[in-house]
């Protein structure tokens, strides 16, 4: 292979080569930046989702299938003990907690609101809501408070929207009314210990967190709705969940595992949307690179028609001509794609330094918009645009290699 010839030909017409490189680099940088945005956004949603759901949850199939009549789905203490024994021995499980959820009505005397109550072990490490409690909120200092601790009984954490609508502040009391597992009405008094922020207006208007034992008391049950499990690494969620499921089945427990990804329909929808959008943009950019580079290469090879005739006449085989021109295209593709990764990285750094944020629908405060710049994100844009360039060269390269010598030599 005569490598020095394609390499020199690559820089023979510098302006045209730079145009080709610029197109490939821009395409690569665009794909890299888009991928960075998708990656960062999905990472944030994933982290938020895992914080909300744990890595996986265990509950009765009745609950998962929304057959919630008469609270038959509740996991009773005897079963709970068997499950926690399995979890205690399971490698990779770092923490777990229990949760009981119920609906009710909150009344302050003048106003009433529907609640979705989550009763959980205070300050547990698997699903700790204490870190979203406002402690230094300048706009409403009366909302600043503390998280729940294991000694709390009739204390509750409420969302900002609920606090606003019921005109509650830290230390205030309100009444909650609900139906117990036996179907009887029950009324309890709750004291606001803190106000939390989830950056989601609907959630902040309905959710409340209270201690598990107090929730059981209000519901008149010893059972819990589900167990929420945290594992050492997000990537291990699926594997550990499967192992736990198998062990529960072996122990004769009729409980089912759901991973965070199965539970988070929102995440799946967002991921599907981003994948489709990214795929569409990637195909569009690749097609653009393909056609422009094909034009550039066609012109570059066309002006060398007589040269092809000459080298063929002095004994260069068609396959050797093909190799030389193809090598030139590969070099162009690889150099352009590499330049694109560097360009994309630099642009992403610049963009990130601007600190831009936006407020999604339903959110109260803006969320940061960033472009992930990991090396792991580089290979796909690199490969995609390099392949687009190489494919775009196939027609002009094979056309050049198949030229008739006499006709090629006649070209002026």
């Amino acid at each position: 292979m005569l490598w020095h010839i394609p390499l020199r030909n690559l820089f023979r017409n510098r302006r045209r080569t730079l145009l080709g490189l610029a197109i490939i680099a821009l395409g690569t940088a665009m794909i890299y930046a888009m991928l960075g945005y998708v990656d960062f956004t999905l990472y944030n949603i994933r982290q938020g989702t895992v914080r909300q759901f744990g890595n996986f949850q265990i509950a009765s199939p009745l609950l998962w299938n929304e057959k919630t009549e008469k609270f038959a789905y509740l996991i009773q203490p005897e079963t709970l003990k068997k499950v926690t024994d399995i979890l205690d021995k399971q490698e990779g499980v770092t923490d777990y907690t229990q949760q009981l959820t119920f609906s009710g009505l909150a009344t302050t005397g003048t106003k009433t609101k529907v609640l979705r109550s989550t009763a959980l072990v205070p300050a547990n490490k698997a699903l700790d809501y204490n870190d979203i409690v406002l402690t230094d909120y300048k706009e409403h200092p009366e909302w600043n408070g503390k998280g729940l601790d294991p000694t709390d009984t009739g204390k509750v954490l409420i969302g900002r929207t609920l606090a606003k609508e019921l005109q509650l502040k830290t230390g205030d009391f309100f009444t909650v009314t609900m139906t117990t597992v036996d179907g009887a009405y029950n009324v309890g008094t709750l004291q606001v210990k803190g106000v939390f922020s989830l950056n989601n207006e609907i959630a902040e208007g309905q959710l409340v967190f209270l201690p598990l034992e107090y929730g059981k008391l209000l519901m008149n049950t010893e059972g819990v709705a589900k167990l929420i499990i945290k594992v050492d690494t997000l990537d291990h969620s699926e594997r550990i969940a499967t192992e736990v499921q198998e062990k529960m089945r072996a122990a004769g427990l009729e409980l089912e595992v759901r991973t965070w990804e199965q539970l988070a329909e929102f995440y799946r929808q967002i991921k599907g949307f981003f994948n489709a959008l990214f795929g569409f943009l990637m195909i569009s950019v690749s097609a653009l690179v393909f056609f422009i580079v094909m034009q550039v290469l066609t012109l570059a090879f066309l002006e060398r028609t007589r040269e092809v005739g000459t080298i063929r006449a002095i004994g260069t085989r068609q396959s050797q001509v093909f190799s030389m021109f193809f090598a030139e295209s590969v070099m162009l593709g690889v150099l352009g794609s590499l330049a694109g990764i560097v360009l994309g990285w630099a642009l992403a750094q610049g963009f990130n330094s601007l600190g831009i944020g936006w407020t999604p629908p339903g959110a109260i405060a803006p969320v940061p918009v960033r472009l992930s710049t990991t090396l792991g994100n580089a290979w796909m844009p690199f490969v995609v645009t390099a392949i687009a360039t190489i494919l775009s060269s196939l027609y002009p390269v094979s056309h050049s290699a198949r030229l008739t010598i006499v006709d090629a030599l006649r070209t002026s």
């Binding site: 023979r12 085989r317 006499v406």
Partner: protein, 233 residues
């Protein structure tokens, strides 16, 4: 015998019409010959050269290179034959622009897979013979027309071909440079004992020929033997 043609014909299809460019040409060339093929524009001399250079295929007839019939050879066999047995010199020099004088001459040896040391020895030897020893690093656009044609002659000879075919080698040169090029070709013909076949319509070139063949209307019409007057500048 290095080269022989038998009833060589070439027809070109122009629309519905078939135009004969060459009509049943019989021709022979031996080792060490210096032959000039002369004829007006459109007489068929370039067609004849293309056919014996094996870069075009005849409509009928046969070209033999060292007794080997070429009409049935595949493209890659023809490429192999051209690489080893035929040297080509073009009117417009046709050097590879991105390569230096040295690399242009070296190129055919790379195709043959010749070792680096042998390549260097052959290339330097030939560039010295054509008087370009000091310009080996120059690219074609840094050389004069005469210098470029001398590089092309060195390239044609570097593989020790059996025959060198030159198509109007002086057409793009001034008369003095053209004479210098012809003198070099003539000298190399004698030194290397390689046959030269020069196609031209320049009457000056014929002064260097041992044999002059005239082509008119696609046929060999006349053959004259010359006593060569110029072998040195």
């Amino acid at each position: 015998m290095i080269l022989q043609t038998q009833q060589l014909s070439k027809m070109y299809q122009v629309g519905q019409e078939k135009i004969p460019a060459l009509r049943g040409v019989d021709f022979q060339a031996n080792a060490g010959d210096f032959i000039v093929i002369n004829g007006p524009s459109g007489s068929g001399k370039s067609t004849f050269l293309n056919l014996i250079a094996c870069i075009d295929r005849p409509t009928t007839g046969e070209v033999f290179i060292e007794g080997q019939a070429t009409s049935k050879l595949t493209e890659s066999q023809l490429a192999e034959l051209r690489k080893r047995k035929i040297g080509l010199v073009f009117q417009s020099f046709n050097l590879i622009p991105v390569l230096s004088a040295y690399e242009n001459v070296e190129y055919p040896l790379l195709l043959l897979g010749v070792s680096a040391s042998e390549r260097k020895q052959k290339v330097m030897g030939l560039l010295e013979e054509v008087g370009l020893k000091d310009l080996i690093k120059r690219r074609p656009d840094e050389l004069s027309g005469g210098q470029r044609q001398r590089v092309a002659i060195a390239r044609a000879l570097v593989t020790d071909p059996k025959i060198v075919l030159a198509d109007e080698p002086t057409a793009n040169l001034d008369s003095e440079t053209g004479k210098q090029v012809m003198v070099i070709m003539r000298r190399l013909n004698e030194d290397h004992k390689v046959a030269f076949l020069v196609v031209t319509h320049d009457p000056v070139v014929t002064q260097y020929a041992e044999r002059t063949v005239k082509i008119r209307d696609g046929q060999l019409t006349e053959e004259t033997n010359h006593v060569v007057a110029h072998t040195a500048s």
